[in-house]
Symmetry: C2
Subunit: 478 residues, 2 copies
């Protein structure tokens, strides 16, 4: 077991857990901690550094989420194979497909119908719900009123097809601060939803053979297919989309959700990210589409860094949305284009028209710039985290028979039966008790047999979560 | 010369000119007035019926615009070849291509940048301008305020991908009253602009060989090409897109602007409409896309009926927009699908997301339903008509050297030199006098030599129009 002392910054400008995280990450990256080495336990390290154990736990969790460390049950934390991955792809045999595990939760960017908690008795664990009870309605209304002043008549004239400059500047600042993306507003294109933006991407890249994670967000795969692209399903393992299968697939573009895969909730590991970036830069014209639809809702640890921020060869197209983070009916999404595609876009931008009204763009720009967005996010993160924690606690009695995953982020968790319960059986049983749960098999691009169900909680009250879980105990304990 | 008496309705429920129009139209359709027959002059008919001459003139103008009558200079009005067209296509030899004549004006639905009247001295006759000085700002603001009430929190939840029901119902009522379209709200799909809706059409029809009028709105042709369709330019004659060339082109879809072609301003004649509909219904799977972008701005006579309303075989896809009629920044357009495509759309609608925010949809729905839209349209029609009349009057001194066309509708007119002045020469000369005018050659899908320029007037004041025309006299009279 390796041993180290972390030199904390005296000014405490960075929380301890972030300092621990950064220190260990740099040691691994620099090769000073070798792959396969065991790290001190969270308790030991906490004692040594004079911090609480939850602090070291948070740092380790983050490193695991990003793939720098591996947590081996009853054994401890080990450094992952990151160095080797940089130079030699690990032979396929060494990777074990472990479909739909790692995980957390989600809400897809192209919004499904929000199946709110329905009638009296019925409890709907929809993974597409959103809690709108805390939408900052009066702030939004005030912004709207301010903007609709006589002076702003120009807001009804035709706008910039790329999106208004001040909204793009606000998005840039947000991406810089929250997602480690250092881009110019010229690289950002505002659009009315993922479908429109995928159409725009298609116009820039031409028709492609697009690899998609299996399982994935099916709506996206259908829209991509109908745009004329060929969709190739590529399996996941615990690191994310398998790069060996991706290479073999003959795809020249890959659509991935590295921060928080839907529906598995998996976070793509650091070595796999590097492998994906290597794949993209190996052949001219290859691209990765990074769908970062809900990176805002991570409840513990640092946010997972974006791949766009880590990309040095201009091969990542970033896709973000305000549908989850602000509200589903705010139809504002955005692309961040790499430099080469930005140039191409500039050559043809005059041929496009804006898709979001200028009033809405202006409201959102001020919502972002004035700090309201951040406050709203922090609030929603607290609210969702409380619901998430409650759901996990209520599900505890099922832990001997089910693997619960997808925690610490997003808006749903996954429940996988360890005793051969099938997905349709669980859904059927739950329905008999007036509880609606969702099968993961809907999201597979190839026919799949599943023992896993999704439970969303965003739109459920504390009481509903409690009552729903009680009903599930009875059914699923049997 | 034929002679007839028109039995006016005693209750005067319909204005005289409409009654005259309807009567003659029915006589022609029924074959009681034969093709090639000469009608009484407007003066004679007016005397006979005891109405004013402007009344008979309006009725005749409408019948000419719709292709039922032909106006032959110094000779009078003759019935067009409508009966024959119903049964036997007129041989190509009998049609004379008369590119870019008939006309009026326009503003394209996919909005170009509004080049407002610029600095002091400069006068910009942009065909893409819009007069926002009369936008019903306070009514719009009031609707917005009413809607953003605490009770309407649901407006921020995910909406109907097809568009909100009440907006679709309002659009249906409008189309019924103004465009002769009898459809169900289920056939209407709301979207954020023409590009998005064309993407949606593509997803329903698959990739096609799409015939487009030459010249046409270039932005649309580029978007359509980049969606993966093959664009085939088809020449116009005075009736509209040549159906013989369309048939020969091998296209299986045609994108047309029958009410008011851009940029020529031509109105597709009734026989040609029938020929187009015959073309579409002759082979399963053929479709016409009817882009009706500015049908609202017709200054004299009845509105030109839509082709969708006349279609009996379900082959017309109607494309409308509020970008011109309300404001360019209101990014709301819509499709009306024929029954077969509606069914197809229903099968996949769950896979799409809305592209217009619900708040905006609700504002627009109330704007339409409450009569505000109609009032706004009437007002803008008066304003634009006054500018249009002024521009034509100011250009009168040029009539001996130029053919002026595109009048009575839209937001621009065309000026065609009769004495060999080239388009670039005119633009250059005008620029030297600080006047910006626009060449029609930009809109040809094949390289073209042009002697025609466009003059838009929507965004110019009375003084600017006067001053601009004075400068043009000096330059163009020489």
């Amino acid at each position: 077991m390796i041993d180290f002392m972390i030199p904390f910054a005296e000014d405490r400008s960075e929380p301890y857990y972030e300092q621990i995280y950064h220190y260990i990450r740099e040691e691994i990256r620099a090769g000073r901690i070798h792959a396969g080495e065991r790290l001190p336990s969270t308790r030991l390290l906490a004692e040594k550094l004079g911090v609480s154990r939850s602090t070291t736990q948070m740092a380790y969790d983050q490193l695991v989420a990003e793939g720098y460390l591996e947590a081996r049950p009853y054994r401890g934390y080990y450094t992952a194979e990151i160095r080797q991955m940089l130079d030699f792809p690990v032979p396929p045999g060494e990777r074990e497909a472990e479909k739909g595990r790692q995980p957390d939760q989600t809400i897809p960017s192209a919004g499904g119908t929000p199946d709110a908690a329905a009638g009296d008795g019925k409890i709907d664990f929809s993974p597409f719900g959103i809690d709108l009870g805390h939408f900052p309605f009066s702030a939004w209304r005030k912004l709207s009123r301010d903007i609709l002043r006589e002076e702003n008549r120009d807001l009804f004239a035709s706008g910039d097809p790329q999106g208004e400059q001040n909204l793009r500047a606000s998005v840039r600042d947000y991406l810089m601060g929250s997602r480690g993306i250092d881009c110019s507003p010229d690289q950002i294109v505002i659009g009315a939803g993922t479908e429109y933006l995928m159409m725009l991407v298609t116009q820039l890249t031409g028709l492609r053979r697009i690899a998609m994670e299996n399982p994935t967000y099916r709506q996206a795969s259908r829209v991509i297919a109908r745009l004329g692209h060929q969709v190739v399903p590529v399996e996941l393992d615990k690191h994310g989309m398998r790069d060996d299968l991706l290479e073999a697939s003959g795809a020249d573009m890959a659509y991935i959700m590295p921060s928080h895969q839907f529906p598995t909730g998996a976070v793509m590991s650091a070595p796999r990210r590097q492998a994906m970036l290597r794949w993209a830069s190996a052949v001219p014209g290859r691209y990765l589409i990074e769908d970062d639809y809900d990176s805002e809702f991570r409840y513990r640890g640092l946010p997972i860094p974006s791949m766009f921020g880590a990309d040095r060869s201009g091969r990542v197209i970033y896709l973000g949305t305000f549908s989850q983070s602000v509200a589903p009916a705010i139809r504002v999404s955005y692309l961040v284009l790499p430099p080469e595609l930005t140039e191409q876009y500039n050559a043809i931008r005059g041929e496009f028209s804006p898709t979001v009204s200028r009033v809405d763009q202006e409201i959102l720009a001020r919502f972002l710039a004035g700090g309201l967005f951040e406050r709203h996010l922090n609030r929603m993160r607290r609210i969702y985290r409380a619901k998430h924690d409650q759901l996990l606690a209520e599900l505890a009695p099922l832990r001997d028979r089910f693997t619960i995953s997808g925690d610490q982020a997003g808006l749903h968790i996954l429940l996988e039966s360890q005793y051969g319960r099938s997905e349709p059986e669980m859904i059927q049983k739950a329905a008999e008790a007036d509880v609606k749960i969702y099968g993961v098999s809907d999201y597979f691009l190839r026919p799949a047999v599943s023992r896993t169900v999704l439970l969303g909680y965003a739109n459920l009250s504390e009481e509903k979560i409690q009552e729903g879980c009680r009903r599930l105990w009875k059914i699923l304990k049997e």
